[in-house]
Symmetry: C2
Subunit: 138 residues, 2 copies
DNA sequence: GTTCTTGCAAAATATTTGCAAGACG
DNA sequence: CGTCTTGCAAATATTTTGCAAGAAC
């Protein structure tokens, strides 16, 4: 992917492609796993934590990332899949290991098609399964 | 329910029924909604926040309550249904309104029956749907 | 008396914001 | 210029723990 590709992704979602935003986007793409703010603070050093936070906030509003609450104390961020880029529909369950803290993306399991009363507007879905992962089990 | 009933619920789950624990249990039963620590701190005053926290921690370990992460900044606690008292199976989705902050229990919608690889041990499930509720919508 | 529980106070962890300087156009 | 973005520092919001006193057995 060229620099212009990254810019275009952002522009396509109505986000002005500043240097910081491109760096955050690249870093999120580099990670196959959801990452938290502290992770990004390290890998994106010396970028400022507050700035990273605001970029993530913007990305979340513009729906190019999911915000995942796995019950660890920190929020995790994950890019939406390239094709959909839509928070409410493009989602999969996650498995959080209570022992090692790893977060697994259960990509192969699709979310059920929920029927909520019409008056509810769905913006995002968080389906978190917790327990012990294969590495830690037995 | 008599005082003894509350005691027996706790004893039945291997929890020594101290005064504080009975009070917390009663308060959780009184609430049809999930509540957070700050809520409990008020309704259970003058009980100490740290003590409430430790009771909730114990209840969670013994699986008589669910811990719900709705993306508000605070954890919410909800009693498992009286019949099951088991975290992994006795669960329902929740809807969190991003505008008013209310948390709805979608009791009528059952959780899908997920098939995880056997090596994963499921301890609890958090299914959170977020968006705008009927009160705030339109 | 030994162990468990509680209250108080403070630590720890994350998230979020205020503000002034700088970049952009 | 005027607006948007960034870095730095600090405020917030919760959760979590240390410790000594008290209760339970």
């Amino acid at each position: 992917m060229t620099h212009t590709d990254f810019e275009n992704i952002l522009i396509g979602k109505g986000i002005k492609p500043t240097a910081n935003r491109i760096l955050v986007l690249k870093e999120l793409m580099r990670n196959s796993h959801p990452v938290n703010l502290a992770d990004l603070e390290i890998t994106l050093a010396p970028m400022d934590k507050g700035s990273i936070f605001r970029v993530l906030q913007l990305f979340s509003e513009k729906e190019i990332i999911h915000v995942i609450e796995d019950g660890s104390r920190s929020l995790k961020y994950e890019l939406c899949t390239a094709e959909h880029h839509h928070t409410a529909t493009d989602q999969h369950p996650h498995f959080f290991c209570e022992k090692c803290g790893d977060l697994y993306c259960l990509d192969s399991i699709s979310l059920p098609d929920l029927k909520l009363p019409e008056a509810f507007t769905v913006k995002s879905i968080n389906f978190m399964i917790k327990g012990i992962c294969p590495k830690c089990g037995n």
